[in-house]
Symmetry: C2
Subunit: 483 residues, 2 copies
């Protein structure tokens, strides 16, 4: 069902040993030049052959006047040329023996009737040479594990575990910085464009087989091969979670999809059905898609739908409980044994109901180790959600209060925060259930950054975390059905 | 209906000329000490009288052994004492002539049966002296315009236009940093705690009259005085928008509310009805509440529900369109005259349908001025939503490409970005309709920060922006009904 990675038509797109590059020049305003700059600046280690009719050197690389003159047959042709010379270029690449291309150039199906004929012609030209391609009208490809960023935006992240196949290039490139703000990155990202040849199904199959990819994100405007999509997704979803964001379900979304990629979108009901059959979790926004991917990729798998919530603030706890209920989760009462073990840690103003609201803890490490450890041992729960309020200002203030010298406060604070992060991470490691955090703070805060960098997912706010846990429970249930 | 600000029982809480402070010491671990530190560090300019049975000085301020010894009758008593001495302290304050108190101490209604009797006793004691109070079990008050932060977390923001009355103190204090990340701040924030005396209705009335407050946020677990709440809200809502976040609607939320503040929450249906009658917009999460407040407070009022979307990326445009449709907005086609004026700016690969997808613009300033100016002039629309992709890396790269010296790139980039921000802000100023931005970038990006600091709201992502515009259209319609 899923071919091995090497058999995928996308293998050479994401892992090319050599690239023939069409459309880069020494004109810094040009899209092609921008993309080549991105390739160079991430440190791509393969061989690069700019092809240019006039320039002898492009971006300090030797350039070739004709693809026929290249000293080898590159794995991939990357094409950012005016519409009218795309087909002749594909022909020339085919004659050279090149079998894969990424076509960024636009001016095809997305323009309506006239463009459609041209796209058919493009496809026919490629087929004559057995050449497979993504696009046209796509943005490129990114595989940070291969140090390849062939898109017009600089890669601002790290190699990560989220694979994406997207019918909008923006949701690949314009997410680099976004994901980085959670300490996340892409494993590999494909922009599919008009899908004249290679499509979402191929992207899904590749990412299903990709060893760097723990979870798959799909941005969907239209599924062109329904049956193949469902079959591939079912085969992949038993191995790793798939999260899809579909925007064509409203009248306004449908019209926007049509004008974007010429896609004929279907109703929410139709797509909900397809996703359910496919074992795919549907997200309601881009933000939610990546929240779901984060939790599903970073935490242990969730076995059921019972959640414990640990907090020291009533409001965030109540908000998490309400959102968890709406996301289909159950909040069980604590088992008797758990209550007994927990009692010494719960002050008179606290509550052992679920949410477990400590209000405060005398020894901060109790909150980060002893208490969550007890809760994760509870037999009647499938996951733990912990609220993290970590004011760096409070830690500094406490240290100053203890008489620590001004200049040493930062150092001590760093050590305390690192210990707290390690305590939490050791629990996430030790227990077979997911431990998810939420906070209103971001990676600018050293505690949140510390947790995230040790692999503990900390999501932005109670509702987003609760919904991500809902997705984890939904995945457990979908997976059981598939098996 | 709404008293003047000075008549509100909350006036002295938010604008005290002098405070008697109970529960601060020189013990840096104590909650009271922490709060007093917050008061001092924001630079409160009024008179502070720590009251302490043993210490002669508290935090370098002269301390008083007994409230009776204070040299004046302070406007406010701030009480962070063990539960069992709260009532005697209130009695002593009353005898001194103090008429307002904030009671942070917990151990009352939220503990159930036993606590309830104690809370009744507390209320009776206060009433005997005509003393009004917030709490018990609250977190304090913040009024950055008065340089007052009487909460245990340092204030990490600026004086702003969002007023909040909250049945959870966390959603005041733990939002300081959150709001700051959008360049926002509170006008005044009240933590109401158990609402033994002063409640949500009083908070709403105060914020309705407060000149610094442009929009009101309410965190609600339970409304205790239904009729007064509706009447007050209706009087306020014609003057400024009110956004409420209610968490008691699910079974899980209801139980969490009960264990948090002893509140008896009602069904979603009941609360939806109350909010609708009150002219209040309901938000689905804390994040959404502040998104709505941001757009409603920072942008011009929206007259109807017709939205134009300007983008250069198809996916974010489609996501915004889909979310806008789901939020009750209409996406009209452009009027003929608008299409004509726009034509020179739309490249062959672009689209003049709505979303207006430019794909790219040769002169970047067109995207930031000429195009949105044309769209805002369109007679058939009520608001404009613009996608901002502003990679600082791209600007730098372009400048380097133009041959600008490395060391001058930063300076030039700063100037270009500032001009772009000013262009957008001048349109928001000039047109009587809202101009809202969305981006996947944050204030870490100088362009986003620049826009936000010039008063152009830039929301986090297409769906959040679209839903905020939905809230603006809903407010226009609610307000019309109220008038």
């Amino acid at each position: 069902m899923i071919p091995s990675l090497q058999e995928s038509p996308l293998y050479a797109m994401a892992n090319p040993a050599s690239i023939a590059f069409f459309g880069a020049s020494n004109n810094y305003g040009a899209m092609g030049t921008n993309i080549l700059q991105s390739v160079l600046s991430l440190g791509y280690a393969g061989r690069l052959y700019p092809v240019h009719p006039k320039e002898k050197r492009v971006m300090n690389l030797p350039a070739y006047g004709d693809v026929a003159d290249l000293p080898e047959v590159p794995d991939l042709a990357f094409i950012v040329l005016p519409t009218d010379i795309v087909i002749p270029t594909i022909e020339a690449c085919g004659r050279k023996g090149i079998r894969r291309a990424i076509i960024v150039s636009a001016g095809f199906n997305e323009l309506g009737e006239k463009g459609r004929a041209l796209q058919q012609e493009l496809l026919a030209a490629a087929r004559r040479h057995g050449l497979r391609f993504t696009g046209p009208n796509c943005i490129g490809v990114v595989n940070p594990h291969w140090k390849l960023n062939a898109t017009f935006l600089p890669y601002e992240g790290r190699p990560g575990f989220i694979g994406i196949a997207s019918q909008s290039g923006s949701f690949v490139t314009q997410m680099f910085n976004y994901l980085d703000r959670f300490g996340l990155g892409f494993s590999t990202g494909f922009s599919l464009g008009n899908e004249a040849d290679i499509d979402l199904v191929d992207g899904l199959a590749y990412l299903g087989a990709c060893p760097h990819t723990k979870v798959i994100a799909l941005y969907v405007e239209s599924i062109r091969r329904g049956r193949a999509f469902i079959e591939t997704a079912r085969a992949v979803a038993v191995r790793k979670p798939i999260v899809a964001f579909y925007v064509g379900g409203s009248e306004e979304g449908k019209r926007a999809c049509f004008s974007h990629t010429g896609a004929l979108a279907g109703s929410d009901r139709l797509y909900d059905g397809i996703f359910r059959q496919s074992g795919i979790i549907r997200a309601g926004s881009i933000e939610e898609m990546f929240d779901f991917c984060y939790a599903l990729g970073a935490a242990k798998a969730m076995g059921g739908n019972r959640l414990l919530i640990q907090t020291h603030s009533g409001g965030p706890g109540a908000a998490a409980a309400d959102a968890a209920g709406r996301a289909g989760l159950k909040l069980p009462k604590l088992a008797g044994e758990t209550l007994e073990k927990l009692a010494p840690y719960v002050p008179r103003t606290g509550s052992s109901a679920n949410p477990i609201d400590l209000t405060y803890t005398k020894n901060p490490l109790d909150y980060f180790y002893s208490i969550p450890d007890i809760l994760l041992h509870d037999q009647e729960t499938d996951a733990l959600l912990v609220y993290f309020l970590a004011s760096a200002g409070m830690v500094r203030r406490a240290l100053e209060g203890l008489g620590v010298q001004k200049e040493e406060v930062a150092l001590h604070a760093e050590k305390i925060i690192a210990d707290q992060c390690k305590a939490v991470a050791s629990l996430a490691e030790k227990h077979p259930k997911p431990l998810i955090g939420f906070s209103f703070l971001t990676r600018e805060n050293p505690f949140i950054r510390g947790l995230q960098d040790l692999g503990v997912p900390v999501l932005a706010g109670p509702e987003r975390a609760a919904r991500a846990l809902g997705a984890m429970a939904a995945y457990a249930s979908l997976r059981k059905k598939l098996l």
